[in-house]
C-alpha cells in the first residue's frame, strides 16, 4: 500500500498531488513538466517536499508535520532512472550486486546470481554497460533495483530513450517482467499507450496536480473532466448548452440541434438550464444512416443531423471522415463538426468517396457528458 501527498514549490512550478495505490502497477501519466518525475523523486527521498506525507506499507517515509524524512538509503525503494543510469565503470554483475553491499558475502553472491539468472543476464555478467543493447541495459537496471528486494519499484520513463520498434518490444518485455516479479510499481510515462499497456491504475497529472486517478478501465469511458478527456486524446470533444437535466437524461443544445444524452449513472450530473456543457462521442460510434434501407426507426436512430463529408484521413484499416453539419454556424472543430470513423469495407460499400451527403445519428448512450473542471 502506498499513500502519497506531497506539495513542492519550485521556481515557476508548484506540485500539489495526493493519490493512493495498492499492490499493482500505477502509471503517472501526463505531459513533460507536469510533475511526474518530481513526485517520484520525492517518493524516493531524492527531493524533499515542502509538505505532505508518504507512507509505504505502513512505514512513514516522509511526514511534513513532524519532520520525519527518511534518507533515500533507508527507504528501500528500487528506482529505475530514465536512461537507466547504470554504473559505467562496473560490470553487469557488479551493477546488480551494488545494492547488496551490507549483506554477508555468501548471501550477496547467491542473490546476485539468482537475480541475473531470472533476468537472463548470467551470460553477460562481466560485460560493461556500454557493451549492452537497449533491452539488456533495461534488464540490468531492473535487476539492480530489484536485487535488494525493495518494497516498491519506481520506473521513470523507462522507454523514452528508444526508437519506436525497439520501444514496443521492450515495452512488452518490461510488462511481462514487472508482472512476473509481482512488485508494486509506480511508473512515470508521457505515453498513453505505455500507461495503458503496463499499468492497472492511472493517475493523470496536469500542471502539478492530479486531474484524475482511476483504474484504467474506468478512465476512457468516464473521464472526470473535459481536461482529462483532452489529455487522454479523446476525439470529438464538443461544447453545447444544457436545456434540461434529470438524473437519467440530459438534453443539450448543440449547433442548432437538440441532443439527448444519458446522464452518467455514477455522477447524476444536474446542471441548471443554459449551463455550458462539454461532451464527447467516439468517432466509431457516430452512425451513418443508410439510404438503401426503409425509413429510419426513431427509437433507434436518435439525435439525427444532416450534413456532408468534407474530407477524410486514411488510418490504415479505417477512414476518419470529417463531417460538416448543415447550418450557418461556424464548424465546431476547425473545418468540420465531427470526426466519424468507418471501416474501409463500409466506406467502399456505401461509396462514400462519391456520395458525400449523409444523415447521421448519435445514440444517446454514446454521448458522454463531461463535467466542466
Amino acid at each position: 500500500m502506498l499513500s502519497l501527498a506531497v506539495a513542492k514549490r519550485l521556481a515557476g512550478f508548484a506540485l500539489d498531488v495526493a493519490w493512493e495505490a495498492g499492490e499493482e502497477v500505477v502509471a503517472l501519466f501526463g505531459a513533460s513538466g507536469a510533475g511526474k518525475t518530481l513526485t517520484l523523486q520525492c517518493l524516493a527521498g531524492l527531493v524533499r517536499p515542502d509538505a505532505g506525507r508518504i507512507v509505504v506499507n505502513g512505514r512513514v517515509l516522509f511526514d511534513g508535520t513532524n519532520g520525519v524524512n527518511l534518507p533515500p538509503q533507508r527507504r528501500r525503494l528500487g528506482y529505475v532512472f530514465q536512461g537507466y543510469a547504470l554504473f559505467p565503470h562496473l560490470s553487469v554483475e557488479e551493477n546488480v550486486a551494488f545494492g547488496l553491499s551490507g549483506r554477508p558475502r555468501e548471501e550477496r553472491r547467491r542473490r546476485t546470481a539468482e537475480v541475473m539468472e531470472r533476468l537472463g543476464l548470467t551470460a553477460l555478467a562481466s560485460r560493461r554497460p556500454r557493451e549492452l543493447s537497449g533491452g539488456q541495459a533495461q534488464r540490468v537496471a531492473l535487476g539492480r533495483a530489484l536485487a535488494p528486494d525493495p518494497e516498491l519499484l519506481l520506473l521513470d520513463e523507462p522507454l523514452s530513450a528508444l526508437d519506436a520498434p525497439l520501444r514496443r518490444q521492450l515495452r512488452d518485455e518490461l510488462g511481462s517482467l514487472v508482472r512476473e516479479w509481482g512488485k508494486a510499481t509506480v511508473l512515470v510515462t508521457h505515453d498513453l499507450g505505455e500507461a495503458f499497456h503496463l499499468a492497472d491504475r492511472i493517475v493523470i497529472y496536469d500542471e502539478g496536480r492530479v486531474a484524475q486517478a482511476a483504474p484504467k478501465s474506468e478512465l476512457l469511458s468516464r473521464p472526470a473532466s473535459e481536461q482529462v478527456a483532452r489529455l487522454l486524446g479523446v476525439r470529438n470533444i464538443l461544447r453545447g448548452a444544457v436545456i434540461k437535466a434529470t438524473p437519467e437524461i440530459i438534453e443539450l443544445r448543440w449547433r442548432g440541434h437538440v441532443l439527448e444524452a444519458i446522464n452518467s449513472p455514477a455522477r447524476r450530473y444536474l446542471p441548471a438550464a443554459d449551463t455550458p456543457l462539454a461532451f464527447f462521442i467516439r468517432p466509431e460510434y457516430v452512425r451513418l444512416i443508410r439510404k438503401d434501407r426503409p425509413s429510419p426507426d426513431p427509437g433507434h436512430h436518435m439525435n439525427r443531423m444532416e450534413g456532408r463529408v468534407v474530407g477524410e484521413v486514411d488510418q490504415g484499416t479505417n477512414w476518419m471522415l470529417h463531417f460538416r453539419l448543415d447550418g450557418p454556424e461556424p464548424p465546431a472543430q476547425g473545418g468540420h463538426d465531427l470526426e466519424i470513423e468507418v471501416p474501409k469495407l463500409v466506406y467502399e460499400m456505401l461509396e462514400i468517396a462519391r456520395d458525400r451527403r449523409w444523415t447521421i445519428s448519435m445514440h444517446r448512450g454514446s454521448i458522454q457528458v463531461l463535467p466542466s473542471s
Binding site: 533515500p72 551494488f98 553491499s101
Partner: protein, 217 residues
C-alpha cells in the same frame, strides 16, 4: 656535488601532495556537489594562490605560522616548531599547488552524472560509500591529472618556500633554492646539473603518468 636538495625536494613534494589530496579532495567535492552560503567566495579563494605573488602568499603564511603568529604560537605550546623547518617547506608547497588539484578534481566531480550518485543512494549506499564507489572512480582521471600537476608544482616552489622555510642548506634548501644559490655563487656547473634534473623529472612525470592514464595536460 651535493644532491641533497634533489632528495629533499622529492620528499617535500611527496608530503605536500599527500597533504594536498587530503585537504583538496573534500574541498573539491564540496565545491562541485554542495551549495552553501559562501560557496562562491570559497571557490574564488581556492584560485588565489595561483594568481597572487608567491612572496605575498609566503608573507601571510609566515605571519600565520611564525613563532608569534596564531598558528605558530598554538603549535609552539605543543612543542612543535613550524617556521623555517622542512615542515614549513611542505606547507608552502601545498599552498602553492593545491589550487591545481582542486580545480581539476572539481571539474572531474562535476562531470559525473548526479543520477549515478542518486542511484547509489537509493541502493542504500552512504555518502562516504557513494564517493568512493561512484564519484571518485568515475572522476579518477581528472583527479590523477590534478595530482600530477600539483606534484610538479610542489617540486618547483620557490617564493613561498623561501619566505616560510628559508634556504638553509641541508635542512630546508630545496632544489629550486639551491639552483638560485649556485647561480648567485657563480657555480654554473652545479646549477646546470640541478636544473637538468628538474626538467627531466617533471617531463618524465607528466609524460609517463599521462601516458599511464591516457591523459592530456
Amino acid at each position: 656535488m651535493d644532491l641533497y636538495p634533489v632528495w629533499l625536494s622529492f620528499q617535500v613534494a611527496t608530503s605536500a601532495t599527500a597533504l594536498t589530496l587530503l585537504a583538496g579532495l573534500p574541498l573539491a567535492w564540496l565545491l562541485a556537489r554542495r551549495r552553501f552560503p559562501g560557496h562562491d567566495l570559497l571557490a574564488g579563494a581556492v584560485v588565489l594562490p595561483l594568481v597572487l605573488p608567491p612572496t605575498v602568499l609566503g608573507y601571510y603564511l609566515l605571519l600565520l605560522i611564525g613563532s608569534r603568529g596564531p598558528v605558530g604560537r598554538l603549535l609552539g605550546t605543543l612543542g612543535i616548531e613550524l617556521a623555517f623547518t622542512w615542515r614549513a617547506a611542505v606547507l608552502a608547497a601545498c599552498v602553492g599547488s593545491i589550487a591545481l588539484l582542486v580545480k581539476a578534481a572539481e571539474a572531474g566531480f562535476e562531470s559525473v552524472d548526479p543520477r549515478l550518485e542518486q542511484a547509489a543512494r537509493t541502493l542504500g549506499r552512504s555518502e562516504w560509500s557513494v564517493f568512493w564507489s561512484v564519484t571518485l572512480p568515475l572522476a579518477w582521471r581528472s583527479v590523477f591529472a590534478g595530482t600530477t600537476l600539483a606534484f610538479c608544482r610542489a617540486l618547483g616552489d620557490f617564493g613561498i618556500t623561501l619566505m616560510v622555510a628559508g634556504s638553509i642548506p641541508g635542512l630546508t634548501q630545496t632544489m629550486p633554492l639551491a639552483i638560485y644559490d649556485h647561480v648567485q655563487a657563480n657555480q654554473m656547473h652545479e646549477a646546470n646539473v640541478l636544473a637538468l634534473i628538474a626538467v627531466a623529472a617533471v617531463t618524465a612525470l607528466l609524460m609517463g603518468l599521462g601516458r599511464l592514464a591516457r591523459l592530456r595536460f
